[in-house]
C-alpha cells in the first residue's frame, strides 16, 4: 500500500481547527495507569512470556512465598505442589500448600490481589521475594487467561478457623476484589493453600517444574517438597536436615549504598533531631566517631537539623560519606546454606560422583549491600565425561533456570581457567568433563538483570567472590585429581621398572658382549637403584 500523502502545511493548519489536538484536548485524555494494567500489557517482564514459562513462574512464586513464610515463623517447611489438568496443554490448576503460619484475614486480599504489596521491599534482609509482585502477578495472569479468581485457604493456628477466599484483581485500580469468603474444614494445624487456574503448557526436561523443585530441594536442605504431576505421579524431595537456616536480621542501609535522592528523602523523613543522630540512627555502622567525621568532611555541624539540610549540602554529605572509611555492614542479615549441607544435598541429588567439595566465602559488600557466595562441585564417578559441566544457579536459595548466558554465575564459571584444575575447556565455554558446579548468591538485595529474576547482573564485587569460591573448589579438585593420577602413576612406574629393565640388560649384553651372569647382575642392580629412588 502506498503511503497516503500528508496534506501540505496550509491544509494542516485548517485541519487543526477541525480535527488536530490542542493542549486542552490532549489534557482531557491524560489518565492514570494502574500498575496492574501496566504489567498486564507487559507480562513478559514478570516471566509470563509464554504458557510453559508462565506455569513454572507461577509455581515458583507460590513456593517462594511458602518457604519465606515458614522460615520466618521458624517452621521446617513441608510444601505440597499439585498440578491438575483442566484441559491438556491448555489449562491447568495449580495448588501449593504449606504448613506455614498462615495469613491473617485482613491481609489475604492485598497479598494476592494487589501488585506491589509486600513486607520485604523496604527491608534489607535476605529473602526469596523482594518486590511484592510475584504471587499477585501469577493470580493476575490466571485471571486474565481463565477468568478465574485465586482461591486461598489459610489457618493461622489450630484453634482458629480455616478461611477460604476467592480473590481477583481490579486491574484498573490495582485493588483486590473478594468474591467469596467462608469458613471451611481443613485438617491442617496452620498453613496456607493457594489455588490458581491458568493457561499453561506442561513439559518435562531442562527448564521443567520437576527440575525446579529438585534444585530447590538442593538449595534448601531443610525443606520437604511433595509434588503431584499432572499425570498423577508423585515425587517427594525429602529434607536432609531439620535445622532451619539461622534467622536473619534486618539491617539499616549502609552509607556507601545511598544515592543523593534517597538521602534527601531520608533527611526529610527521619525522626532524628540532629544530623549526627540521623546518621547514627538511620544507617548501619555509623557510630559517634564516624558520624563526626562525616559531618566534618561535609563541612556541616553535627547539630544541624536534618530537615533543614539543603540539596547542595546533601550533595556534600554524599561526597563526605564516600571519603570516610566506614566498616562493612553486618553480615548476620544473610545466611548461607553452608558447606556441609550443600555437599550433603548435592550428594543426594547427584549421587554418583567420586568427589564433592564446597567453599563458603565470608560475607562481602556491593553498593552497601551485604552478600555472600558459596560454591559446591561434584566430580567424576558416573558423571558424563564428555559433556559440558552442568551448572546449578541459586539466588537466595531460589534456583535460576532461565537465561544462563546472561548470568554472572555462568560468566564467572566460564571465566575461570579450569585447565589449571585438570579439566578441558574451550575458549569462552564451560569446562568439559564429569563436573557439576553449584553456586549460590545470598544477599539482602540480589541484583537481577530483569524483574523476572532469571539472571544475576554484573557486579565486579560479586564476580570476585564467585571466582574466589570457584577457585577454592578448583584447587581441591586439582588435589583430588592429582592424587588419583599419582596413584595411577606409581602403579605404572612400578610396572615400568619390571617391564623395561630387562631390555636395558639385553641391550647392554648385545653391545658389550656381556655374559648372561653379568647381564643379570646389571638388571638386579639397576632395579635396586630405581626402586630406591622411587620410594624417596
Amino acid at each position: 500500500m502506498a503511503r497516503k500523502k500528508a496534506p501540505p502545511l496550509k491544509k494542516t493548519a485548517k485541519r487543526k481547527a477541525t480535527g488536530r489536538a490542542t493542549a486542552e484536548s490532549m489534557a482531557k485524555r491524560q489518565r492514570e495507569i494502574s500498575v496492574s494494567e501496566f504489567f498486564t500489557k507487559n507480562r513478559h517482564l514478570l516471566g509470563f512470556d509464554n504458557p510453559r514459562k508462565a506455569l513454572l513462574t507461577a509455581i515458583k512464586e507460590a513456593v517462594d512465598n511458602s518457604l519465606d513464610a515458614c522460615e520466618e515463623a521458624g517452621i521446617p517447611p513441608d510444601v505440597r505442589v499439585e498440578l491438575v489438568v483442566v484441559k491438556k496443554d491448555q489449562r491447568y490448576r495449580l495448588v501449593v500448600e504449606d504448613n506455614g503460619p498462615g495469613i491473617v484475614r485482613a491481609q489475604v486480599p492485598k497479598i494476592f490481589g494487589q501488585l506491589l504489596y509486600g513486607s520485604k521491599f523496604h527491608s534489607l534482609k535476605q529473602s526469596r521475594g523482594q518486590q511484592g509482585i510475584g504471587i499477585s502477578a501469577a493470580g493476575m495472569y490466571g485471571q486474565l487467561t481463565t477468568g478465574k479468581p485465586v482461591v486461598i485457604t489459610s489457618r493461622t493456628g489450630p484453634r482458629r478457623p480455616a478461611l477460604e477466599f476467592h480473590v481477583s484483581i481490579d486491574t484498573a485500580k490495582n485493588r483486590p476484589e473478594v468474591s467469596k469468603e467462608r469458613e471451611v474444614e481443613w485438617d491442617v494445624r496452620h498453613g496456607t493453600r493457594v489455588e490458581i487456574e491458568l493457561e499453561g503448557r506442561y513439559q518435562r526436561g531442562k527448564q521443567s517444574i520437576d527440575e525446579y523443585l529438585r534444585q530447590t530441594s538442593i538449595a534448601n536442605p531443610h525443606v520437604t517438597i511433595r509434588y503431584v504431576a499432572p499425570d498423577g505421579e508423585s515425587l517427594t524431595f525429602e529434607r536432609v536436615t531439620k535445622e532451619l537456616p539461622a534467622e536473619t536480621t534486618e539491617i539499616k542501609p549502609h552509607p556507601y549504598g545511598v544515592e543523593l535522592g534517597l538521602l534527601i528523602k531520608m533527611l526529610k523523613d527521619t525522626g532524628a533531631r540532629t544530623l549526627s543522630a540521623f546518621l547514627k540512627q538511620d544507617f548501619s555502622r555509623v557510630g559517634p566517631k564516624v558520624a563526626k567525621e562525616i559531618c566534618a568532611n561535609a563541612g556541616l555541624t553535627e547539630k544541624a537539623r536534618p530537615s533543614r539540610i539543603a540539596r547542595q549540602e546533601a550533595d556534600n554529605l554524599i561526597a563526605a560519606i564516600r571519603d570516610t572509611k566506614i566498616m562493612a555492614p553486618p553480615a548476620d542479615c544473610i545466611v548461607p546454606i553452608g558447606g556441609e549441607l550443600l555437599e550433603a544435598s548435592l550428594k543426594q541429588q547427584v549421587p554418583d560422583a567420586a568427589f564433592y567439595t564446597s567453599s563458603t566465602r565470608s560475607p562481602a559488600v556491593y553498593r552497601g549491600n551485604p552478600f555472600q557466595v558459596e560454591v559446591a562441585i561434584a566430580y567424576g564417578g558416573e558423571l558424563q565425561a564428555d559433556d559440558l559441566a552442568r551448572v546449578f544457579r541459586f539466588a537466595n536459595r531460589v534456583p535460576l533456570l532461565y537465561q544462563p548466558g546472561a548470568c554472572l554465575i555462568t560468566r564467572s564459571i566460564v571465566g575461570t581457567d579450569w585447565k589449571n584444575y585438570g579439566l578441558q575447556q574451550a575458549r569462552g565455554a564451560l569446562p568439559t568433563g564429569p563436573l557439576v558446579v553449584l553456586a549460590h548468591v545470598a544477599s539482602v538485595w540480589v541484583p537481577f538483570t530483569s524483574e523476572s529474576k532469571e539472571a544475576i547482573a554484573d557486579y565486579p564485587e560479586i564476580q570476585k567472590e564467585l571466582k574466589l569460591a570457584i577457585q577454592e573448589c578448583g584447587r581441591r579438585l586439582r588435589i583430588f585429581v592429582n592424587r588419583r593420577k599419582r596413584e595411577a602413576d606409581a602403579a605404572k612406574k612400578k610396572s615400568y621398572i619390571e617391564q623395561y629393565i630387562p631390555h636395558i640388560g639385553q641391550a647392554l649384553q648385545d653391545i658389550l658382549d656381556l655374559s648372561d651372569r653379568s647381564r643379570d647382575q646389571a638388571v638386579t642392580k639397576l632395579r635396586d637403584i630405581l626402586e630406591r629412588s622411587r620410594k624417596m
Binding site: K493, Y496, I497, Q499, Y500, I501, H503, I504, Q506, A507, L508, D510, I511, L512, L514, Q521, A522, K525, L526, D528, I529, L530, S533, R534
Partner: protein, 397 residues
C-alpha cells in the same frame, strides 16, 4: 675394561678427524675405519652406562642442547656450530622406557655396522616390533629416539649415516664432468661412474654417500633449486660449456645431497654456487641451510653444511638488472625475511645479506629462477649465467 676404553677413545679421535679430512683415501679402507670408529663409540657409550650401574649410580647419557640459544656462528668455521650447552639424561623411573629403547637402538646400529647393512627410520621402527614391551607404539616415538642418538653421537663426530640409519628421501640429481668412485653392489669391486655419460638421464645420488670417492676437474659446482632449470641446463649440456657439475636440489636439499656436495667440494676443493629463486624461501631455507645449516639441528651441521657455498643468484638486484617478471611477496615471505634480519646470526653477520634482504622487502616482490624465460628460453644459458660467472668474486657470501 680399561684397555677397551682406551682403544675406543683413540678410535673416536680418528673418526672425528676423518669427518673433516681433505686427504683422499681409498674408499674401502676409509669405510672400514669409519665403521670401526663408530662401533667403538657405541661400545664406549654403553660401557659407561654399564659402569654406572655396577657402581650403584644412575646411568646418564649426554647430548647437546638443541636450541638456537646453543648455536654460534663463526665465519671462519663456516657453519652454525653447537655451543657448549649439554643436556644430561639420567635414567629414572620415568625415563626407563626411553632409555631401554635408546640402548636397543644403539644395539641395532652396532648390528647393522657388523653386517654392513643399513636401515631407514621406518625399518628401525618395524624392527622394534620384536622388542616386546620395549617396542615403539608409533614412528614418531622411534624418530625421536633416533634424533636423540644422532645428537648424542654428533658430539663424537659420528653422523646418523655412520650409525647406518639412512634417510627415506631421494638424493638429488647430478650431471657433468665428475667421476664417482664407488663399488659394484654385487661384487664390491671398484667401479667408476661417469656423470657425463648418462645421456639425457642423470646420476642419482645414493642415500649414503660416506664411502664415495670423486675425480673431477670441474671449475665449480652449480646447485640448482628447481628440476625445470636443472633439466634445461643439462639438456643443453651447460656443464660442458661451463665446465661445472650440475646438482639439482629439488627444493630444500636432502641430507644425502647436502653431504654429497659437502664432501665433493671439500675433497676436491672446488667452489659451490647456489642458483635459487629470489625469495626468502630460496635465500633462507635453501641457500642458508645448504651453507651454514639451521639452528635447531645444529648437531648435524658439521656433516652437512657446505661452507664453500656462495650465492650466484637470483639476487634482488638481478630483478632490477634483468627486468624480471615478479610476484608480490606473500605474508609468510615477509615474515620469514624480517625474522631472518632480526634473529638469524648468518644474515646479521653479513652486511651485504642484510642489505639484500632489506632491498627485497622494500621492493615487496619476488622472482623465480625460471623467470629469465621471459627474454628467451635460453637467455639464462646464453646471457645470465656467463655474465654472473665473470664476477664470481662478487657473489653474495
Amino acid at each position: 675394561m680399561a684397555k677397551k676404553k682406551k682403544k675406543a677413545k683413540a678410535a673416536k679421535k680418528t673418526a672425528a678427524k676423518k669427518a673433516v679430512t681433505k686427504k683422499q683415501a681409498p674408499a674401502k679402507k676409509r669405510a672400514a675405519k669409519k665403521a670401526d670408529a663408530t662401533e667403538s663409540c657405541i661400545v664406549d657409550t654403553a660401557g659407561g652406562v654399564h659402569r654406572a650401574i655396577k657402581g650403584g649410580r644412575k646411568p646418564e647419557l649426554k647430548s647437546p642442547t638443541r636450541a638456537l640459544s646453543n648455536v654460534r656462528y663463526d665465519e671462519r668455521v663456516g657453519y652454525f656450530e653447537l655451543g657448549r650447552g649439554r643436556k644430561i639424561r639420567t635414567l629414572t623411573v620415568n625415563s626407563v622406557k626411553t632409555f631401554a629403547q635408546t640402548l636397543k637402538m644403539m644395539a641395532l646400529s652396532k648390528e647393522l655396522i657388523e653386517e654392513d647393512d643399513s636401515a631407514t627410520k621406518r625399518e628401525a621402527y618395524y624392527v622394534s616390533k620384536n622388542w616386546a614391551e620395549a617396542k615403539f607404539d608409533d614412528q614418531t616415538e622411534s624418530d625421536t629416539v633416533m634424533d636423540d642418538i644422532e645428537a648424542m653421537f654428533s658430539l663424537e663426530g659420528v653422523s646418523r649415516e655412520q650409525l647406518r640409519f639412512r634417510p627415506e628421501e631421494h638424493g638429488g640429481s647430478v650431471a657433468g664432468p665428475l667421476l664417482v668412485l664407488d663399488r659394484d653392489q654385487r661384487t664390491g669391486a671398484r667401479i667408476t661412474v661417469d656423470c657425463t655419460a648418462q645421456g639425457s638421464g642423470t646420476y642419482g645420488i645414493p642415500h649414503s654417500v660416506e664411502d664415495l670417492g670423486f675425480r673431477t676437474d670441474a671449475d665449480f659446482i652449480l646447485a640448482i633449486e628447481t628440476g625445470g632449470m636443472f633439466q634445461r641446463l643439462h639438456s643443453h649440456a651447460y656443464w660442458d660449456r661451463a665446465n661445472c657439475i650440475l646438482v639439482g636440489l629439488g627444493g630444500v636439499p636432502t641430507r644425502a645431497t647436502r653431504r654429497f656436495i659437502r664432501r665433493l667440494s671439500d675433497e676436491k676443493n672446488i667452489p659451490v654456487y647456489a642458483f635459487v629463486d629470489c625469495d626468502p624461501y630460496g635465500i633462507s631455507n635453501i641457500y642458508r641451510t645448504l651453507k651454514v645449516g639451521s639452528g635447531n639441528a645444529a648437531h648435524i651441521n658439521q656433516f652437512f653444511c657446505v661452507p664453500r657455498a656462495r650465492f650466484l643468484g637470483v639476487t634482488p638486484q638481478d630483478i632490477i638488472d634483468y627486468d624480471l617478471p615478479t610476484h608480490p611477496l606473500k605474508e609468510v615471505d615477509i615474515k620469514r625475511a624480517k625474522d631472518a634480519l632480526k634473529n638469524d646470526p648468518f644474515f646479521k653477520r653479513h652486511k651485504r645479506w642484510s642489505a639484500a634482504l632489506e632491498q627485497l622487502l622494500a621492493m615487496g616482490k619476488r622472482a623465480e629462477q625460471q623467470a629469465f624465460a621471459k627474454h628467451t628460453l635460453n637467455y639464462v644459458i646464453d646471457e645470465y649465467l656467463p655474465a654472473k660467472l665473470r664476477q664470481a668474486s662478487k657473489f653474495l657470501p
